[in-house]
């Protein structure tokens, strides 16, 4: 992998550093999650059974209905919540939910971000930068990336 920083078209929320949980699949809080246990629960989802708590979710596209607009706030209030969302493509619901919950999200890349970020990598997200970005800090937990 040559580039370690991937710029997004848009972002909101605060800077975050956390391990990434990556899959080439969609995201909907209602359809995909057991929000009490903090795991992906839809059997067909590529992250089925995985805990999302404190992870940066790197996924393809926002899916499903409108419930995520409330659910991110509710998940945030209970502390059983991803650290951030990174999506190739958003829908308005994800944006509305992130805005209500003051949740970190960036989206829109010139590559497939689910292919660019290794699962388990430590990543930094800065939605406040002039060009919001996700940066790979280490390709797995505790393994720093060599300089480019």
């Amino acid at each position: 992998m040559s580039a370690k920083i991937f710029h997004a078209e848009a972002g909101m929320g605060r800077k975050v550093e956390a391990p990434a949980l990556v899959a080439s699949d969609g995201f909907s809080a209602r359809y995909d999650l057991d929000r009490i246990r903090g795991v992906f629960s839809r059997p067909e989802h590529k992250l089925a059974g995985e805990s999302y708590r404190g992870r940066v979710l790197v996924l393809d596209a926002a899916k499903g209905g409108v419930a995520t607009a409330w659910m991110l706030y509710e998940m945030q209030a209970r502390g059983v919540v991803p650290a951030a969302l990174v999506l190739n493509r958003v829908n308005p619901i994800m944006v509305q939910g992130a805005a209500l919950a003051d949740f970190t999200m960036i989206s829109g890349f010139d590559c497939d971000i689910t292919k660019a970020i290794p699962n388990g990598a430590m990543v930094e997200i800065d939605p406040t930068a002039e060009r919001p970005f996700i940066r790979i800090m280490s390709s797995s937990r505790g393994t720093p990336e060599p300089p480019p």
């Binding site: 839809r42 499903g64 409108v66 607009a69 409330w70 308005p92 509305q96 939910g97 209500l100």
Partner: protein, 415 residues
């Protein structure tokens, strides 16, 4: 975003802290999605079941509901999507008192905000269908896609916080399907087998939704050999929105913006094209039937049933008796008519349960499954099959007739 004098005053707090929060929220959303300004809206529709809101969301609403009257009331007609219970039947569903308490608190808060508690996802069939070109802020994907596509209205998916904001400010950021350029087709689907029942229309919606892939895609369907009914459009649209997160489709020769394909395809545009026929629809339905010979319950919901669907169900159940739970979910508006027309009595005399003002998946579906021992579920709603897997169910998509047959055979599926 460009703001009018009134919008700047709202942002500065001249209309109170709730409208100030609302317009600030809308500006955040609008900036993210590239809106240049606001557009006035004529109706808002809020999805806010308490499973989604949670205790935190209800407390958030209650804080705003405690403001003085003139600072907290919505300024355009604002209605609600289904709630998380039918209070009259909650015990039968084994819903817990804490769920009902949350629902009561949320209802009280919304009423204090001036919201009309219509509790329906079929407001386009029962309350006030939008007119072509009207800008709205609708908060249910099925409502949005039907209103955009069948009525020619203009709305994005507006989640609860944003729909409430639109009710309070009377406007919404102008992006997405408020704009002419976003309403053009991005893919063409040639359908060689027009569905003949509601489940098959839902299956077509599911297939096209998967092909479309995301919110910004607009499928144009050609080859449909009839004018679908409102209920057929309802099931098709709800599934398309659910599987694809799609908010607008065109059906050439049927929907108002697409009398001809050229009406919705930019000159010279080369769109990807897909063929969908009987085999794709059969495969879609078959994927849910593997390893299931019997079901624990039958559910008709998502979207709520029209009076016409209620009548069809009552007719199918005449002289028969459901041996497993058969839940039928409709709107409060249809329920009153179904009562008056004797349909509720006929369905319930045959062992069914008619629920009003809720939707099955918005009503603590996981907790209901655990409390009742439900896992395998038959429905004619493709949308419901898509949602319930994550709640621990194993759903099967069948026609209404086949669902009734299963219910009357003790859950056994007739092959």
């Amino acid at each position: 975003m460009r703001l009018s004098d009134e919008e700047q005053a709202m942002r500065a707090g001249a209309f109170g802290p709730l409208r100030q929060w609302a317009i600030e929220h809308q500006i955040k959303v609008g900036r993210y999605l590239g809106a240049e300004d606001f557009v006035p809206v004529v109706q808002a529709h809020i999805m806010a079941d308490t499973e989604s809101l949670g205790a935190a969301g209800v407390a958030w609403l209650e804080r705003w509901a405690a403001l003085p009257g003139r600072e907290r009331q919505v300024r355009i007609p604002t209605i609600t999507d289904p709630r998380g219970t039918d209070f009259a039947k909650a015990e039968r569903l084994k819903q817990q008192p804490w769920m009902l308490d949350l629902e009561r608190r949320a209802i009280a808060a919304f009423e204090a905000l001036g919201v009309l508690m219509t509790d329906t996802c079929i407001n386009y069939q029962t309350i006030m269908p939008p007119v072509r070109g009207e800008h709205c802020a609708y908060g249910d994907t099925g409502v949005v896609i039907y209103s955009n596509s069948v009525c020619g209205a203009r709305s994005n998916f507006e989640g609860g916080p944003s729909a409430l904001s639109a009710g309070l400010t009377g406007r919404t950021p102008r992006y997405g399907f408020h704009l002419d350029e976003r309403r053009r087709a991005t893919l063409v689907v040639e359908v060689s087998s027009t569905p003949r029942d509601l489940a098959a229309w839902g299956a077509l919606g599911g297939v096209v939704g998967r092909l479309a892939g995301d919110y910004w895609q607009v499928p144009a369907l050609i080859g449909i050999d009839c004018v679908p009914s409102s209920d057929e459009m309802k099931h098709f649209g709800a599934a398309l929105a659910s599987f694809g997160s799609v908010a607008l489709f065109h059906m050439v020769g049927v929907t108002p913006e697409a009398m001809r394909l050229e009406d919705v395809v930019a000159a010279g545009a080369a769109l990807r094209t897909h063929d969908v026929g009987a085999e794709e629809l059969r495969a879609f339905q078959a994927q849910y039937r593997s390893n299931i010979d019997a079901v624990d319950l039958v559910v008709f919901s998502a979207p709520q049933l029209s009076l016409i669907e209620m009548r069809a169900l009552a007719d199918m159940l005449d002289g028969r008796h459901a041996q497993i739970p058969l839940l039928t979910v409709t709107s409060p508006q249809v329920k009153a008519d179904a009562d008056r027309c004797g349909l509720t009595a006929r369905i319930e005399a045959a062992g069914g349960t008619v629920l009003s003002g809720m939707c099955f998946y918005q009503s603590y579906a996981r907790e209901m499954a655990e409390a009742n021992g439900w896992e395998r579920l038959a429905t004619n709603s493709a949308k419901l099959t898509n949602i319930l897997g994550g709640y621990g169910y194993r759903p099967v998509l069948l026609s209404m007739e086949a669902c009734v047959a299963a219910a009357c055979a003790g859950g056994k599926l007739v092959r």
